[in-house]
Symmetry: C2
Subunit: 295 residues, 2 copies
């Protein structure tokens, strides 16, 4: 006879199925009570180790508290037949840094589980995207579309992140840029979070390529014309652009610096970073950002 | 002799000062370990009851676990001299639903505390803005600027939320609309979360006013011309616009519906809502949203 597990406060209500659990940033103190409880009760705990990371010591502490954890990479998540087979017999927790549905790949996993008739529970976590905007002191209502700066996979430079920043700025909107942590783009291992210097190099390379490739002739709509104007403007402003670099947000060693883009290469390395590109600042926002200026 | 309190795992490290604590949505199971620990250890617990709300029963449970809580409204937060005086002698926790720095008013409070030489700690929480995008199944990278639909204070209809939606949509970006919960705009009490029907009425009233007021002559920039085009387009599309209404997100009774804007008035009332206005959908997004269609 299989006994259903007791349903704790926000705890696990399934004997078999998939539970996508958000870990939040940096360590167990940022996990919710529901997340800790569900992860502890699950039969199997997998840790998704390619879209974002905790430090090895934070993971070790987590393992001590909630039980053994197995790392999985992109192939196991995007071709999840093995994970889903397991979830037909047992309760399988997939632990995801941040919120478990921020990346499209996890929404897709949720849909595949549901199509296979497998129970799929979601336990949300603190996402960096909801944390950084306020932590640096900028108004959440003035952020436009977010973007990710990626490594130049096989030498290919995508200019779209800089175009997103440009189009936001011309509308008076700030941009949150997440930084890639996968030098190969394959998601199979050796994750290496992009450093501030890499971000500077990436943006400068994008600007160079954008400058060479923007075409005044493609202006058959108001949106195209605005994009063209925005791209020209950001290229002209790049040398004087001040940015906010955020490191290990939500953790004890969180640090924030407000400095010129062209000085990013002198920032300390290590840890997980993201970048905020401010647009025009209000008075409160100015006071908030000035806190992060190196004296 | 004053003994410093022990510093727990993510717990309180101050004997006096202000701690802004994010409660996350709906109930204690969504609070982080750090938040529960800090709130329990604080000398005084204030609950900010005008930017977002938990249910009375969730608050009662919280009070049972962490100790007595006093409600504060907008005047006490925006004119915080009393709160800051208290924080010079004792550890004062201000409990904020969601993340404690999402609203500019709390960033301002943090700055005022720092100017007054008062320690100010931040403990982040799950914000609705980081939760809803993935929970409905839309790509986080395709959201533009967010907005809030407000009650028509004293009969005044602001068209800016609809203009934000319009400008996002013409760029292919989804919009998260939070819904007001303060019929008077004063933040002094009798908070009443806007219902789906109110949101429909508000958007329709905005469209009417926008239609009467948009002026083709104000087109002296690419951005102005795009805004004009976007406003015309949204007014024309409003009758066929499908939206996602999200109710009590993050709680046990969370519900999501994908339906025409013009049918919002038949939705169930009660609870705290927000609205997502999708732009063009990808294939995965379409599959994700179709889950929320009433059969």
């Amino acid at each position: 006879m299989i006994l259903a597990k007791a349903k704790g406060a926000g705890g696990l209500s399934m004997t078999a199925g998939l539970i996508l659990i958000g870990l939040g940033p940096s360590g167990i103190s940022n996990m919710t009570r529901a997340a800790i409880s569900a992860a502890t009760q699950a039969d199997i705990r997998l840790y998704e180790a390619y879209t974002a990371l905790w430090s090895e010591s934070a993971l070790a502490q987590l393992e001590t508290e909630i039980g053994e954890i197995t790392k999985v990479m992109r192939p196991e998540v995007e071709e999840p037949s093995q994970m889903l087979s397991l979830a037909k017999e047992k309760s399988v927790a997939l632990l995801v840094v941040g919120d478990p549905l921020q990346a499209t790949t996890h929404v897709d996993l949720q849909l595949q589980a549901q199509e296979a008739g497998i129970d799929c529970e979601i336990i949300h976590g603190i996402s960096i995207t909801g944390l950084v905007t306020g932590a640096v002191g900028l108004s959440n209502y003035k952020f436009g579309r977010q973007t990710t700066l990626t490594y130049p996979y096989g030498g290919w430079i995508a200019t779209s992140p800089l175009e997103v920043i440009a189009l936001n700025r011309i509308q008076g909107l700030h941009t949150l840029c997440l930084l890639d942590l996968d030098p190969t783009g394959a998601g199979t291992g050796n994750q290496k979070p992009m450093q501030p210097e890499d971000a500077q190099t990436a943006i400068m390379a994008m600007a160079k390529k954008l400058e060479d490739s923007i075409d005044e002739d493609i202006n058959d709509s108001n949106l195209q014309r605005l994009k063209f104007e925005a791209s020209q403007k950001i290229i002209a402003e790049l040398n004087d652009l001040d940015v906010v670099i955020c490191t290990d947000m939500g953790g004890k060693n969180q640090s924030i610096s407000y400095l010129p883009l062209k000085d990013l290469h002198i920032c300390e390395t290590g840890g997980l970073h993201c970048l905020v590109i401010p647009a025009k600042l209000s008075e409160v926002e100015q006071k908030a950002l000035i806190r992060w200026t190196k004296q």
